[in-house]
Structure formats: structure tokens, C-alpha cells
Chain length 131, copies 2
């Protein structure tokens, strides 16, 4: 695994963009960031872990909400500066309660919502921080 980690080109902040995709449907769920520790933990545990830029800490997806992502496959792009994690998403990926974070599309000169929340943020997090 160290050789894989050494091949990834982290940016000046030590991060790499990571796209999460539901492995069987192809749905793009979210885009987040990983540092070297997050990639290593994801590969070691099989549960996807990101780096939260806002919290400045490892972000074990679903730790408080239960909406975990099981790793199916981790892919690296041609320049090794982007990652695609193919996952089995439990429940919803978005903190708004929607399956995917990409729930708005350009429609004329505005953004139109494509989906509605499947659960409420309160159901997901209670008094906890969002993850």
C-alpha cells in the first residue's frame, strides 16, 4: 500500500480531490478531499474516510449519521491527482438528506432542484455536527 500512496500526487495543501460514485448505478454522490492518512485509512478499513477542510480533521463519512460508504474500488486518474472511490452508499450521501450532493441543475438562468430530501438533517444528525 505505501507504493500506491507514493504514486498519488497530493497538492500543496497535502490534499487530493476524491469523487464518490455509487458502484452499481454510476450515480455521482459527492466530491470531497483526502489527505495521505485518509487514503491509507480508506484502503486499510474498507470504509471511506475523507479530510474535512472546514474542520481540519479526518472525516470518517457516516460516523455520526450512519450514512457510511463501503469501499468497492479506489481508482486513480492519469495524472494521479484525482481519485474515484466506487462505493456502496448506505442511505444518503448529502448532508441535506438527499442521495447525491449534485441535486441542482442549471435551468435557464437559475438552478433547479432535481430531488427532494429523503430524510431530514435532524433525523441524520440530531444534535451532532454534520458529516
Amino acid at each position: 500500500m505505501p507504493s500506491v500512496l507514493d504514486q498519488i500526487r497530493f497538492d500543496a495543501a497535502g490534499l487530493v480531490a476524491a469523487i464518490a460514485q455509487q458502484h452499481d448505478t454510476g450515480e455521482v454522490l459527492m466530491l470531497a478531499w483526502m489527505n495521505r492518512d485518509a487514503v491509507a485509512e480508506t484502503l486499510a478499513t474498507g470504509r471511506v474516510c475523507y479530510w474535512s477542510r472546514s474542520r481540519g480533521a479526518l472525516w470518517r463519512k457516516g460516523e455520526s449519521s450512519g450514512q457510511v460508504q463501503r469501499l468497492v474500488e479506489l481508482r486513480v486518474d492519469c495524472d494521479a491527482d484525482a481519485i474515484l472511490v466506487r462505493v456502496e452508499q448506505t442511505g444518503v450521501a448529502c448532508h441535506t438528506g438527499r442521495r447525491s450532493c449534485f441535486y441542482r441543475a442549471v435551468d435557464g438562468d437559475a438552478l433547479r432542484e432535481l430531488t427532494q430530501p429523503e430524510v431530514s438533517p435532524e433525523q441524520l444528525y440530531g444534535a451532532h455536527a454534520q458529516d
Copy 2:
């Protein structure tokens, strides 16, 4: 359209990450970057335009290779700091001649190639710069 552009949160460098996905198969083709002008041009022309960080210039995908991306839908994520462009990809997206840039997967402690080039870079670019 200005109101859509004003809703996107570009980073300190004026960029936003953009995922390109083949609209009908769900295949994730590549990850690149857009600035405000690239988003505006993409929406105005229906042909996907990125910002090349290495060249410091607008990157009209396929301009030299012919491997253009026709915009089907442009989505924005919950934080408005990532874009998903659902596209009709002509030919291959990757400068290596592969359909997708994400052609390598972690396999044990190494990266394994999942696909082979469909065309050679020479066929794609001749003496031109890669796009």
C-alpha cells in the same frame, strides 16, 4: 446566467472542480477545473470548456484532438463548490487514448490498469499539444 455564475463558489485561485460524466452510461470520464469564464462559455456554447492550470488558459476540450464534450446538463453540489457536467463524449476523454482518465485501480499494494488505449496519443494529437 449571471445569477448561476454568482452562486458558484470559486476558490481562492478562482477555480471550481468539475467532474465530467458520460450522461447515459454514468461513466466518470475525468476531473478538471473551471474558472468563471469557462463555466460561462460552457453554458453559452454547449461545448465543455475547462481552465488548464498547467497552461494558464481556457481549455476548449477537444480543440486539437476532436474529442469534444457536448454539454447535456450542468449540476452544482450542495456547497456550490463542485460541478458535475453530464456530457456526450466524442471518442475518448483521456490524453492517453483511453475512454476515462480513471483507468487504474488499487490492487493490493499496486495500481492495476483496467483498460487499454483505444487510440494512440499520436493519432489524437499529431504534433499538437495534448488536450
